[in-house]
Every structure is written in C-alpha cells, then in structure tokens.
Symmetry: C2
Subunit: 295 residues, 2 copies
C-alpha cells in the first residue's frame, strides 16, 4: 500500500514556477525582459543535461536565456573575460557558470568574478556571507533554498526543531545550515552538521526532527537511524552499478528510501523531491535579480 | 585547593603578541610600518576602554595606530566618507570601527564599506563568506579566532570532537561554527549551534566534548549541564548588580565558573580567558593585512 507521506517536489516546484511566471509578466508589462546567461566549459554529459533543462524552463517561464559553451581546454583568463562582459551587459540579470569546470580553471576565482548582484547561484563569498549574517538582500544558493521551501510548503515546523544535516559541502550542507539557524521566520532551528569525520552520526540522526542527507553516499541513511515520524529530505544523487538497469547503472539518493519511508513522518522521493526545486529556485533568483536591477 | 585545569588566556595571548611583534620587526626591516586605524562614534564608556586597550597594545607591538572620534550625532555619510579615505590610505593596513555605533548609523553599511583587504575585524560579508566556504585568504573575526587558538594551544583535540556552541551572534557563535566545521587541520568537529529558541539545550551540552558559551546570559552554564571532563570556553561578558561591589555591579561570564570548574576537563577563567585573545587576534590580523598588502 503506498504511504501518503511523500513531499512532492515536482508539484511544489510547479507552484513556484507559476509564481515566477507571474513576476516575469509583471516585469514585461514594465517593458523589462529578464535575461539569464549560462556558461558551460567542456562537454561533461551531466552538465549538458542540466543546462538544457534550465534553458527549457527559462523559455517556458518567459526568461530570455543564452548559453555560451567554451572548449574543454579554455583558459581561466578567457572565462573570466567573458564573465566581465556579462557583468557589464544590462540585458543579463543572472549569470550561471555550470559546475564542474575543468581542472585548469579555479572555480573560486570564477565564483568571485561574477557580480554579486547577478550571482543567481549564490556562490559568491559576499552572498554566502550575507546569508550567514542573516541579511536578506543577497542570493541564496538554489539547492539549499529549495530544501527550505520544500519544508515550508509541506507545513513542516522548523522553529525550535532539531535538524541534523549530513554533509558539509558548499552546494548544500553549509548554506542550508546558515539558512536554518537564523533568528527568522521558518528558521530558528537547532542545527547539527555531521560529516565524514563525525564520530557517531546515528546518535545525531536518531534524535532529529528533520534529517537532511547531502553527503553523497548511496542509501546511507537507514530506517534504524531515524526517529519514527521524522522528516527526511534526500539531496543525494549517486550513480551506482546495476547490471539490470539500462546502461548498467542507476541513480540513487543518500536515503534507503524503501525502508525509511514507512518510518518517516514525511519524506522526499528521489527523483521528484529536491531536484525540481533547484531549478525552481534558480528561476526565482533570476527574476528577483531582474526586479532588483530595475526597481 | 586550586585546580590545575585553567586555560590561561593571558599567557597564550602574550605568546601570540610575541609572534606578532617579531613579524612587525620583519616588516620594519623591509621599510614597512604597519598601520591600524580606529574609528569610534560617540562616548560609550566601554568602547572608550576597548579602543584604549587596543591603542596601547598596538604601540607596544610597534604598530602605528591612529584614532578618529566622531561625535555621537555624526551622520552615516560622514562616517562612510571617512572609511573611504582610510580605504585609500596606503599607510593604513587595518581598519576597525568600534561597535556599537549610534542608532542613526547602519552597522551593516559600515561593515560593507570597509575594504575586505583591510577588514581586520572580519565583519565584511565577503570575509564571512570566505570563512564559511573554507577559503583561507580572508580575515576571521577576532573573538572566534581567539577561541580557536585557545583550543589549539591548549592541546584540545578538535577533529571529530562534539562541539556545542551556545549563541548565534555574528561576533562569536556563527563565525566560530564556520571555523570548526571545516575540513581542515584543527577543525573537522561535529558542531551543534544552540540559541534562545532551542528546545533542550542541556541535552546538547551534556553530550559535548567542548562547550562554548556565548549567549550573553549570566552564569547560564551550570555544573550539571556538562559531561565530566568536557572543555568549557566562556565568552560571556555580563554586568550584573552586586551591592557589595564597587559601583554596585560586577562582570560575570556565561558560565557558573566556581561550580563548573571542578567538573570540567579544561576551562577558561573569565576574565583572563577569551578576552585577551580578542586583542591578540586583532593585532595578528593587522600584521597579516600589512604583509598581504606589501608582498
């Protein structure tokens, strides 16, 4: 019997897309065309898929996007020079450099080159710092912002909750920590960040009201590691070998979904949970950038 | 019988001062005079004392300092204009605007006005963001950096330790969290941040290897709230009424020191623990700013 405790990321993302589309319309009525630039370096297959999805969603919401593809052997100087062009281009409100970039390019230098006011990925140190300081005029990176929205729109009480985040990456763990610990509406949680060097992760996850798994270990979170009724958010995207699957491998999350779902209070499916939210937040950040640049 | 478990902040700070003085000498041999500017607004008595102490320590270490005092009714524009002057002044390597500033001045705007490369207080969002991202080319704010040095120089094992921080202020709790959670030497801790909205703080402090009290509640941390042998760092500075004391009040920390000391493995006295470290880290940041600006 299917359980009714799924957090439907696709439906929530679609709701946010509708809100964003309405804001695009409002901008267009003022004669403003929101513009988003994608930059991709090399031919990483996953990056091509991701940028393609973002292009399609932009078009559907009425955001004008353009994509520049650099060869895999592009130099950092070439990339930075192009970012400067985009920084100066008034028709572009948001800039996204798809990660990963090839080895010869310093991804920190790339993040710092994007103008903070066009940094819709929320990777610039000034935006990370503003998030940590509790300022609300910066950009929050898309995946943690998406996790936050999933919790809010699923009616999960965050204030005062015990939250355990697994993984301290800059894409999810660290910024999500910064979001949830703030003295602010839909935040105010008591947050613990666990990682590869943590001693007894299960002792933390077992006491949590909300567990966010973002460490990149396939099906790491097991049913006996959570408290019955806990909310479980699975951010993991891991490719594992599977002879029965097409291509010999399949994608799994960081949660042992089949066994955890019956114990959890609410849980994200994966796919169909956090994934769609990342794009939704990117589009929302872009429209916010366009609004802020033109108000 | 006095216990031998005190972390002597004065002695450790003095050790760091000696190291800093040697670096000042090395700069002077290259013809460089490190310069630090203090800015104070109004006549807050505590601010006068703090700036006075920092001036004295600068002089002792061979750092040239100057102080500009604005009237309590100074405008934000006047203050920001002066900060721009200091930003452009090549003889000044570090800028410190003493907090608190009067109500008519937006302290966020002040933090953001200081050039990140002269922000020896580590308050600029770009420096906070770099700290969170694990970059090592920014400035870390002085009190959390001082707590970190106290732990390191007292031989406390941080990697893998369970750390509980009480208080989420931008002066201590948040940046200390960012320091200790990094994948880095003398970090790699499992960190929980508790605050006024946390549900059961004692359940966290009782499982901690290291407790840092920085919430600003007089003698909040009691002996039954820690595990025997835990390391306790008291960052609190609270003035409480005391008819027997000179002036009718005295300063106490966030730790019930007399009763916690016998249970703790190591503990900071207060005063004489974290306090002296803050100035030591300010001086060290200043000399680092001078080195970076002139290399």
């Amino acid at each position: 019997m299917p359980l009714d405790n799924l957090i439907d990321g696709r439906a929530i993302a679609e709701q946010i897309h509708q809100e964003t589309a309405a804001r695009v319309e409002a901008l267009k009525r003022r004669g403003i065309q929101p513009g988003l630039a994608f930059v991709r370096v090399g031919e990483d297959p996953a990056s091509k898929v991701y940028v393609g999805m973002k292009e399609k969603t932009s078009a559907r919401l009425g955001i004008a996007s353009r994509t520049r593809v650099f060869a895999a052997d592009a130099t950092q100087a070439e990339l930075l020079a192009f970012i400067q062009e985009l920084n100066a281009d008034k028709s572009i409100h948001g800039i996204l450099v798809q990660t990963p970039v090839p080895r010869q390019i310093d991804s920190t230098a790339v993040s710092e080159a994007v103008l903070p006011s066009k940094d819709v990925d929320g990777f610039h140190p000034a935006n990370v710092g503003k998030l940590m300081l509790g300022a609300t005029d910066g950009f929050v990176s898309c995946t943690p912002a998406g996790v936050h929205e999933l919790l809010i729109r699923s009616g999960v009480r965050i204030a005062g909750a015990e939250v355990v985040i697994l993984g301290r990456g800059m894409l999810v763990g660290k910024p999500l920590l910064a979001i949830l610990l703030q003295k602010a509406p839909h935040a105010d949680a008591t947050v613990t960040l666990c990682h590869s060097r943590s001693r007894d992760i299960a002792s933390h996850t077992r006491r949590a009201d909300i567990v966010v798994a973002a460490m990149g270990v396939p099906e790491y979170l097991k049913a006996d590691m959570i408290r019955p009724g806990a909310v479980v958010i699975d951010v993991g995207v891991n490719r594992i070998p599977d002879p029965a699957a097409k291509g010999g491998s399949r994608l799994v999350g960081d949660v042992d979904f089949a066994r955890v779902q019956p114990v959890a209070g609410k849980i994200t499916p994966n796919p169909g949970g956090v994934g769609p939210m990342t794009i939704a937040m990117l589009m929302r950040n872009t429209i916010r950038a366009a609004e802020m640049a033109t108000k």
